[in-house]
């Protein structure tokens, strides 16, 4: 059955991709979407069997991949509790995204290609989560990277989309460098790359040291940190995060599936999958905690000032991934996986909701051109509100009932507090980031759905209106000017339409997840006793830590709740009550605002440090190394010498050179022989 789940999407992708236009839009869509729904229908029973405790971890071998001495990488599909969780996340979100794309991509002429890529992605992601060895995980890892590259650059005519696609691939490759080195090192130490065998042997290596780059380090720390670099790349952690916001160039369903729910969580999955290995290195775990916390804070701060609706959600994703990582860093792997699980639903919901708004607003993505949309697109509004309630973690602390994020995010914060050490810092950062999360999430809702309509300010809307009314270009210029000089309010005569049912059904289904996923599953994922029974050793589940997390002081339990309300209040004050506050903030704190708006200047820094020098050095090596030095003193110099020596000028003809070269070389050879036999 697991073979079907994994391979059906591949088959559908191959047929739709190779058939492409010959196959036609509708067959391609039915095929891929149908395959995904079958995979999804087969995945839920597996998950439920793990929930009820009736299933055991098992491995389905397929065939040999790479063998070299003791190195043995098999194609095999592993199913355990962690895989089961990922299976339902991937197949559910993917099938819904496939369905949603029927509506969202309806005007697109190139649909078979799009659906083939989506299904290919799903296949690669499934291979990643069913991997029983590090190399198959790396196969899935790179496969999702490929699909991500293809889908970000799906609109390949747009230069910005192409740039974003390359950036995503190359930045991810920086992480992959770490991952590959990690695999090399792991094989060297354990003589195997089978995950269960590594995890079993890892504790015995505690305290050992290994040579790496000419120095000696703690063995497990080196291995874990190398692998973690891979996780940082895929999961867009601080330093290697720059590709994620740009990835929003891809179609919105792609952002929901790949850059929110599934692919970007692969790093978290990897750390959790290898948790017994990370447990052997306190240093590595501390690094994971700090990186996670730093990302969580960084992304949340940037998210507060972005105006593009998708970028706000992208930074939000980045920030939430930071939560997952510091949960893993403090040893609460169950909580990390739980947040991964709930986040998949509510973040996919938010992205698809944003897509629905963009669809209604004729491709406008700037929230400054939204406003007052709640009456126009009510289902989108309500489902997105549920998503926002979930991400901000609305719930009643003492009663213990709330939306999905309430269970998972608060679970992480409590575990971090309970863990102490680096966890305390992470807890404080996490609380502050929760404040920012609440602020930017509600800011998004208020700017989009409340206040006055500012649609006339949008070029896209102007285009739509002009196309409809047949106005001439002159008005376009006028509208363009308006956009840059003065804020324009009013509807401009535009009428947004609610999206078709194929887009609304996924929103409604996902909002069920956003509401109930936490309530239904928290005991299995993070319950001190339930967790042991559910995970069954699929990850390193620390029951004591989870106990301690449930026993934290009341103020700790109330802290997320308080900051959530505070964030909501500030957003309400700034974007509904006193709409001049944002401008006044910008005027007062121009420096801070610019710093945040420019995303802490990471892109500029990397451009100066890496991109420009790479081209400059490449040009230098080419012009001065190859042409100016090697050629000049090598073959050309030799030719010039020979030619001059024989006083035969301008006779650079091959026929002569044969002889000359030969004479010259025989002389050299004779010299060498003499030197050798002396």
């Amino acid at each position: 059955m697991i073979q079907l789940i994994v391979l059906l999407p591949l088959l559908a992708a191959a047929i739709a991709g190779l058939g492409n236009k010959a196959l036609g839009k509708l067959p391609a869509k039915i095929l891929t979407t149908g395959a995904l729904f079958i995979s999804c229908a087969l995945s839920w029973p597996i998950f439920i069997s793990f929930l009820t405790g009736s299933a055991e971890a098992h491995v389905t071998p397929l065939f040999t991949w790479i063998q070299s001495g003791s190195f043995d990488a098999q194609w095999a599909l592993r199913v355990d509790a962690m895989t089961a969780v990922m299976l339902v996340v991937i197949t559910s979100v993917s099938s819904l995204v496939h369905l949603y794309s029927w509506g969202y991509m309806d005007e697109e002429p190139d649909q078979p290609r799009f659906f083939a890529y989506l299904s290919l992605f799903t296949f690669a992601m499934l291979m990643l989560v069913t991997a029983n060895n590090l190399l198959q995980m790396f196969f899935g890892w790179e496969g999702v990277g490929l699909a991500s590259y293809l889908l970000i650059g799906f609109w390949f005519r747009k230069p910005s989309a192409n740039a974003a696609a390359i950036k995503a691939f190359v930045v991810n490759r920086v992480g992959d460098l770490g991952f590959m080195m990690g695999i090399f090192g792991t094989y060297l130490v354990f003589n195997t790359i089978s995950i269960p065998e590594i995890l079993e042997m890892a504790p015995s290596m505690t305290g050992s040291t290994i040579g790496f780059l000419g120095h000696r380090f703690d063995t497990m720390t080196v291995l874990c940190l190398l692998l973690f670099v891979g996780a940082m790349g895929k999961s867009a952690q601080l330093g290697l995060h720059t590709w994620l916001p740009d990835a929003m160039e891809g179609p919105t369903p792609v952002s929901a599936l790949i850059h929110a729910a599934t692919m970007v969580t692969a790093g978290v999955f990897m750390v959790c999958r290898l948790s017994p290995m990370f447990e052997t290195s306190a240093t590595a775990l501390t690094v994971v905690t700090y990186v996670g916390a730093a990302t969580c804070l960084f992304a949340a701060t940037v998210g507060t000032v972005q105006t593009d609706i998708k970028r706000v959600i992208a930074y939000s994703t980045c920030s939430q991934l930071g939560y997952m990582f510091f949960a893993a860093g403090v040893g609460a792997y169950g909580a990390a996986m739980f947040h991964l699980f709930t986040h998949a639903f509510f973040k996919a919901l938010l992205f698809l909701g944003a897509g629905s708004v963009i669809h209604a607003m004729h491709h406008e993505q700037d929230m400054r051109c939204y406003g007052a949309l709640r009456k126009e697109i009510p289902i989108t509004f309500w489902t997105m509100t549920l998503g926002t309630l979930a991400i901000t973690g609305v719930g009643l602390p003492l009663v213990g009932v709330g939306f999905a994020g309430f269970y998972s995010k608060d679970g992480i914060l409590e575990a971090a507090y309970a863990a102490g050490g680096a966890g305390t810092g992470a807890f404080l950062v996490g609380i502050f980031a929760a404040l920012l999360t609440s602020f930017y999430s509600w800011r998004l809702v208020f700017l989009t759905f409340f206040g006055k309509a500012r649609w006339a300010a949008s070029e896209h809307i102007q285009h739509a209106l002009h196309d409809a009314h047949g106005h001439d270009d002159h008005h376009d210029d006028h509208a363009h000017d308006d956009h840059h000089h003065a804020p324009v309010t009013g509807t401009g005569g535009y009428h947004p339409h609610e999206s078709p049912w194929v887009m609304l059904v996924p929103l409604i289904v996902l909002s069920l997840g956003a509401v109930f996923a936490g309530f239904l599953f928290h005991d299995q994922f993070i319950g001190a006793e339930g967790g042991i029974e559910f995970w069954k050793g699929a990850l390193s589940f620390d029951s004591h830590l989870m106990h301690a997390a449930h026993e934290v002081p009341t103020w700790v339990k109330f802290a997320p709740f308080t900051v959530m309300l505070t964030g909501l209040l500030i957003a309400w004050l700034a974007y509904i009550k006193n709409t001049d506050w944002p401008q006044r903030f910008v005027a007062t704190f121009t420096g801070l605002y610019t710093f945040l708006l420019n995303k802490w200047y990471f892109d500029e820094l990397y451009n100066v440090l890496f991109v420009k020098p790479a081209f400059a050095i490449g040009r230098f090596f080419w012009k001065f190394g190859d042409v100016g030095f090697i050629d000049r003193f090598g073959p050309n110099g030799l030719a010039a010498l020979v030619v001059q020596g024989n006083k035969v000028t301008r006779r650079l003809q091959s026929g002569y050179l044969y002889t000359y070269a030969l004479v010259m070389l025989i002389g050299l050879a004779a010299a060498a022989t003499w030197a050798m036999t002396r």
């Binding site: 190195f71 190399l135 130490v189 790479a614 091959s654």
Partner: protein, 521 residues
């Protein structure tokens, strides 16, 4: 098939075809060449099918021996390594003929004859068991390639062919002298005997350097690589395919057949030199590839970077490294060949190699864009394609010898992605800015038949490389055993912590300090 001289037959068929091509018209020459290469392909597959892969049989199979004069003999025979390289050769040859079908218009007969003659020589190189026979095949291989570039090449073909010849000849003279000395010393010209002969370690260094001069140029290794971009740029498409696909592999084959087994101590002693040059090559040529505006130059530079992975794999002195190096050679032969074919497809339409003259080809050439993307990804080393298997094993092998070398060479996966995707973007993505490029038709049936088989094999090698690794395994294990006494110790030496569990510290046995890999450059 015992006793049947299949290897000689595989050389006789293209030889007969080559002679026939000289005397017939253009169209007949094309068909003769195609049929001859296809017959050779079938023979090659028969060879593979009858090759004893169990490892229990003899290392050298299909041996033939006919004395010519003195010690010099027509001695042929193959092991698994040679078998795989022969398979690569006979697979690529019909594709090369197909790629030249319409592109070559003048002196077709001579052109086809040159190609067929080259096939004879390439098979000769991989099958020769006599030192001098190998030398003749190895050096004579230059001549048809020299002619192909010099006669059917681009505008600057004379300079390129001269440079190609000069570079490669330089090394070969030194190699010949070394060979003469070896024959004198060991008293035999038989390669299998020489592979087990223990030369004095002091002399080994000189012999190694003499062979190195030849193989490093053929490879090509930095800094003797500058002939390759010029040769590729000027060569006709099929010339580039065979150059990248097979001729570059002769350097690697030389290392694996001569340098490593015949001079193990010298190889180990000079390994840091090879590592250093390879590290420089990976970074240097990748960065140079990034700034190229000529498609063929870009791919040529990328070949240098890929070949550097081969050399580090070979000089890792372990099974994974050597198997990886062989897989990179096979994979690169296919993928670089296919990339040159992809360049040829659009060159045939627009007659320019300037990247900027293209753009947006995904719109008017979707099939082409798909195949080109596939080979781009294979070149980048995406898992599931042939190149990944090789690169991964080679880098894993070198990691066991030196973590520094592994780190620097692994940056190739980042740089490789950068220059290949940048190339793909400029050719296939974006708007159609050039009207003539936008009017180009998609792949013809012939062109699909050239590229699709390569794609299938690349995928096969990526998903089930065992088919290709298995025939080579016994020979590589034998080589590893030969190298083992001299192999340098790794720099990873694990030292267990206080509570010492038994049986874990398999690396502890190495007692020497790591070789000074950092000093190599």
């Amino acid at each position: 098939m015992d006793g049947f001289p299949i290897l000689s037959l595989m050389m006789a068929v293209p030889m007969a075809g080559a002679i026939a091509c000289l005397f017939v018209g253009a169209n007949s020459a094309r068909w003769i060449a195609l049929i001859a290469t296809l017959v050779d392909f079938v023979l090659g597959m028969a060879l593979w099918a009858n090759f004893d892969q169990s490892g229990g049989g003899a290392q050298w199979q299909f041996q033939e021996y006919a004395p010519i004069f003195g010690k010099f003999a027509w001695a042929l025979g193959i092991d698994g390594i040679a078998l795989m390289l022969i398979a690569l050769t006979v697979f690529l040859m019909p594709i090369c003929i197909g790629a030249s079908w319409n592109a070559i218009e003048k002196r077709v007969g001579e052109y086809m004859a040159a190609f067929l003659f080259m096939e004879v020589l390439m098979i000769g190189v991989f099958t020769a068991q006599d030192l001098y026979l190998f030398y003749i095949m190895f050096e004579a291989g230059l001549i048809p390639m020299y002619l192909i570039i010099g006669i059917w090449g681009g505008a600057d073909r004379i300079y390129a062919s001269y440079k190609f010849f000069l570079y490669t000849l330089f090394g070969s003279v030194l190699m010949l002298i070394a060979m003469m000395w070896m024959v004198h010393e060991a008293g035999t010209t038989e390669i299998p005997v020489l592979m087990a002969y223990n030369f004095d370690p002091h002399v080994q260094t000189w012999l190694f350097l003499a062979f190195f001069a030849s193989f490093a140029v053929k490879m090509p290794m930095w800094p003797v690589h500058t002939w390759l971009p010029d040769a590729h740029v000027q060569a006709p498409t099929a010339g580039s395919v065979i150059l990248a696909g097979v001729l570059l592999k002769m350097g690697g084959y030389g290392f694996i057949r001569f340098s490593l087994p015949m001079f193990p101590e010298a190889s180990a002693q000079l390994a840091p030199l090879v590592w250093g040059l390879s590290m420089v090559a990976v970074v240097y040529t990748s960065l140079v590839a990034l700034v190229q505006s000529d498609m063929k130059k870009l791919i040529a530079y990328s070949s240098v970077a890929h070949m550097a992975i081969v050399t580090v794999g070979l000089f890792a002195f372990n099974q994974a490294g050597i198997e990886g190096a062989m897989m990179v050679m096979l994979g690169h032969g296919l993928v670089a060949g296919a990339l040159f074919l992809c360049v040829g497809v659009i060159y045939d339409r627009l007659h320019t190699r300037e990247i900027a003259r293209y753009g947006g080809l995904s719109i008017n050439m979707p099939r082409y864009a798909m195949l080109f993307l596939f080979f781009t990804m294979a070149s980048v080393g995406l898992p599931g394609t042939s190149n990944f298997v090789g690169e991964f094993l080679a880098l894993m092998g070198i990691y066991q010898a030196s973590t520094w070398v592994a780190l620097v060479c692994t940056t190739g996966i980042i740089l490789g992605a950068a220059y290949m995707l940048y190339l793909y973007r400029r050719i296939c993505y974006g708007e159609q800015v050039n009207a003539d490029a936008a009017a180009m038709p998609d792949l013809s049936g012939r062109e699909i038949w050239l590229l699709a088989p390569i794609a299938a094999v690349v995928l096969w090698m990526g998903v089930y490389p065992e088919s290709f690794l298995k025939p080579m395994r016994p020979d590589i294990l034998a080589l590893e055993a030969r190298l083992a006494p001299a192999a340098p110790a790794g720099d990873s030496k694990i030292k267990m912590g206080a509570p010492k569990p038994a049986g874990e510290a398999h690396e502890e046995a190495h007692h020497e300090e790591a070789p000074a890999h950092g000093e190599a450059h």
